[in-house]
């Protein structure tokens, strides 16, 4: 059920200081931006309403000879309109209310008295109040729309930034880190993602959260409940409303993939009802990106699995072919010997015994090769490097093959004064044994095999050359693959591991192995070994003659 792997444990995200400051600054910027329109500086706006009325009264006072009180009422209306647009509904209402006494006292005759004689001015004032209320309402609507538009724009750009960053993220831990950072910036709450591990719930990020105090620890039991029930719980919900956190399930295409936990200490109770749609959009984006990253991973694993499967199949087929045949022979021969011991003549008995011996030898070789390859593949082999003379290694390789080579001529050409080389002698000997054994198996008897060792500036090059059938050019790279054989049904026994073992060993030494065709027929195997260090200097002995 758990789509997400245990990536939580893989990488503990370290938020760089840089990113933290960036996101916090973004948050601050946003706040001041919105506050222009919001009622937080409510008192100041109210004062502005009163102040503008008073200022207009002051100006009108000077022009009272020129303007009639009705005209001045229009000037007031202009002021109220301005206040409504600039400062909002309540300041404009306040402004209109302030107009009543100031107009009565300063403008409408009798001056310096709150009484108004002319009913025309009273009706004018009433109309002004009515118009002011309507304008204020209209202005409020306009302002609200503008605010909404601004906020939509802000959100769009925030979402755009989120999706841009998410699109660039590759690793799951990166995606989570981006998600945590953006949710913190947008909603101003510390948060964490919680994903199910194989057996328990784990919290993300494991390291420091964005803010001080350090990571607030989410309640994992609660997260598990949310994961299983798919419901939002915590402050402002019907479930566990006393929790000081909110847990929101994160939906992926296959169901709930994780839980977002929000630190609700600073959140109002209606946070969820207000911000849920936006929060869902964020979470949808994050979940989607996570699933994408996960499916890439799954696809990669599937490919690897397929390759392993193919390999296992070829291993099984070679084992069943190459080990079963000798086994059948051995079992058969041994049975015959056991049953018909008295009836068999000496020659037949000897023949059977030597068949058993040979086949057992063959099986032993194959088993050793398979084990050797498995050991190399498993990365179990640690090179036991020591300083060695190549001549010595060639010598011991040849000795190991004495029985197989019989009388075949082997020419060895060594550069004079070859330096010592820092290698694992046992493994290198194996490489030479495998190459020689192949040369021996796949070239006509009595055709010589040539071994040569030369040095280049920074490598030692060892070649094994035969006069055999050669290898078709199209197989020159494939020949080193595991279980590859040029001729599957060849009479020569082998699993197609010898050369892969060679390659693994040579590459472990930092060298390369390759094959080419020899002019005049035959194949030319060659591998090089880099000189990694200068050979150690030894105190040479004075060459005292022993007589």
């Amino acid at each position: 059920m758990l789509v997400l792997q245990r990536f939580i444990l893989l990488t503990a995200v370290h938020f760089s200081c840089n990113k933290i400051t960036q996101s916090i600054e973004a948050e601050k910027l946003k706040k001041t931006y919105f506050n222009k329109y919001e009622a937080e500086s409510f008192n100041a706006s109210l004062l502005w309403g009163v102040f503008i009325t008073l200022a207009l009264t002051f100006i009108s006072w000077h022009f009272r000879e020129v303007l009639t009180p009705n005209n001045i009422l229009l000037v007031y209306l202009l002021g109220v309109f301005f206040v409504a647009l600039r400062f909002g509904f309540w300041p404009s209402i306040l402004a209109s209310l302030t107009i009543i006494p100031t107009f009565a006292y300063f403008i409408a005759p009798p001056i310096f008295s709150l009484t108004i004689n002319d009913p025309e001015y009273i009706s004018g004032l009433m109309i002004l109040l009515g118009v002011a209320t309507i304008t204020s309402n209209l202005a409020k609507d306009i302002r609200h729309k503008a605010y909404m538009a601004e906020q939509r724009e802000w959100r769009t750009s925030a979402l755009y930034n989120l999706s841009k960053e998410l699109a660039e993220a590759r690793k799951e831990s990166e995606i989570i880190e981006i998600g945590v950072r953006h949710i913190q910036a947008e909603f101003g709450v510390r948060n964490t993602f919680i994903f199910p591990d194989d057996s328990y719930f784990e919290q993300f990020p494991i390291t420091q959260s964005l803010d001080n105090p350090p990571l607030w620890v989410a309640n994992l039991n609660m997260a598990e409940w949310v994961f299983n029930h798919g419901q939002v719980v915590g402050k402002g919900t019907n479930n566990f409303p006393n929790e000081n956190a909110i847990y929101v399930p994160m939906n992926g295409s296959t169901g709930i993939i994780g839980v977002l936990a929000l630190d609700a200490i600073n959140l109002s109770k209606d946070f969820l009802s207000k911000k849920r749609p936006l929060l869902d959009t964020y979470m949808y984006q994050i979940a989607h990106t996570l699933e994408r990253a996960n499916s890439v991973e799954l696809a990669k694993n599937a490919t690897l699995k397929m390759q392993a499967e193919t390999l296992r199949n070829s291993l099984l087929s070679s084992i069943s072919h190459d080990l079963r045949n000798p086994l059948a022979t051995i079992v058969g021969a041994a049975c015959t010997l056991e049953m018909d011991e008295d009836r068999l003549d000496k020659i037949s008995r000897k023949k059977l015994v030597s068949i058993i011996n040979e086949e057992a030898q063959r099986m032993s070789d194959l088993t050793i090769k398979i084990l050797e390859m498995a050991r190399l593949e498993a990365g179990e082999v640690v090179l036991n490097r020591q300083w060695y003379a190549v001549e010595e290694i060639i010598g011991s390789a040849l000795r190991r093959l004495d029985k197989n080579l019989k009388t075949r001529p082997v020419n060895i050409q060594l550069e004079i004064n070859l330096p010592l080389i820092y290698i694992d002698a046992v493994l290198l000997q194996q490489v030479i044994v495998n190459l020689l054994d192949n040369a021996n198996k796949y070239s006509p008897e009595l055709c010589p095999i040539d071994i040569s060792v030369v040095t280049t500036v920074n490598t030692l090059v060892i070649s094994v050359v035969d006069r055999g059938f050669g290898i078709p050019e199209e197989f020159h790279i494939k020949i080193f693959d595991k279980f590859f054989r040029v001729n599957e049904e060849s009479a020569q026994s082998g699993v197609g591991l010898g050369l892969s073992i060679c390659r693994a060993i040579v590459e472990a030494h930092g060298g390369e192995i390759k094959v080419s065709n020899r002019s005049g027929g035959g194949s030319h195997f060659e591998f090089n070994l880099p000189f990694l260090e200068c050979p150690p200097i030894i105190d040479l002995e004075e060459k005292e003659l022993m007589l």
Binding site: E391, I393, V426
Partner: protein, 234 residues
């Protein structure tokens, strides 16, 4: 009937393999005693005083290396260790701990028999170990006169080459580990300086062997040490 024949103690836990070796050795007229654990093996050495011990390194109760170490505190009985392949470090350790020779499974019984013979021959010789002249194939060595001949030709060696050769000669037929050679020729502080050995073995081969790249006498046991072959067949 066979009371005068050498007694061989076999410590091996695999029953089939034990049976195989038992039959092979019995047929060669050796007296054979078998046990399957290290502890019983050690008791058997104390009570039966075998001439030779064949020890599998992977035992069910105690580590084969322990058996060697504990045995070597009070006994000089020659030991041949048997081990799986790819265990060069184990083999080297066993030899350095005091084992005399080794074989890796699977091995041919012919080789085992020749190793046993060589070891038994060596203990038979020990009392009169002041052998002077050694002849191995074409090579003739006169130890006190410090003369070495290849065929009819006198070969000149440096003191180190001579020391190296004389140690191998004394252990002719058996493997001598890198560590043992370095310690005996150059001294204890040189035991890690394998490259000295490579250089001098190379020089020795060039002086003594007809084809130094395919030596007949001074054989390399990759990852373990060197063996001076007593001639063909080993």
């Amino acid at each position: 009937m066979k009371t005068n024949q050498p007694l061989i103690l076999l410590i091996e836990d695999d029953p089939q393999f034990q049976m195989l070796l038992f039959t092979t050795l019995e047929n060669q007229d050796y007296r054979v005693l078998t046990t399957t654990t290290g502890e019983t093996g050690l008791i058997a050495v104390r009570n039966q005083k075998p001439s030779l011990l064949i020890l599998d390194l992977g035992l069910p109760d105690i580590d084969g290396q322990d058996v060697i170490c504990r045995l070597r505190k009070w006994s000089e009985t020659p030991i041949i260790v048997l081990s799986a392949r790819n265990q060069e470090s184990q083999i080297t350790l066993a030899l350095d701990n005091g084992a005399d020779d080794y074989l890796t499974k699977p091995f041919s019984t012919a080789v085992l028999l020749s190793r046993i013979k060589a070891l038994l021959r060596r203990i038979a010789k020990t009392p009169s170990s002041h052998q002077e002249v050694f002849q191995i194939g074409d090579i003739k060595i006169e130890l006190t006169k410090r003369r070495i001949y290849v065929g009819e030709n006198l070969v000149s060696l440096t003191p180190i080459e001579f020391n190296l050769l004389s140690i191998l000669i004394r252990h002719a037929g058996f493997v001598v580990t890198h560590r043992q050679l370095l310690e005996k020729v150059w001294g204890p502080s040189y035991v890690e300086h394998n490259h000295y050995l490579r250089i001098y073995m190379g020089q020795l081969r060039h002086k003594l062997e007809a084809d130094p790249a395919r030596p007949k006498y001074l054989l390399t046991e990759a990852g373990v040490g060197y063996r001076l072959s007593e001639g063909e067949g080993i």
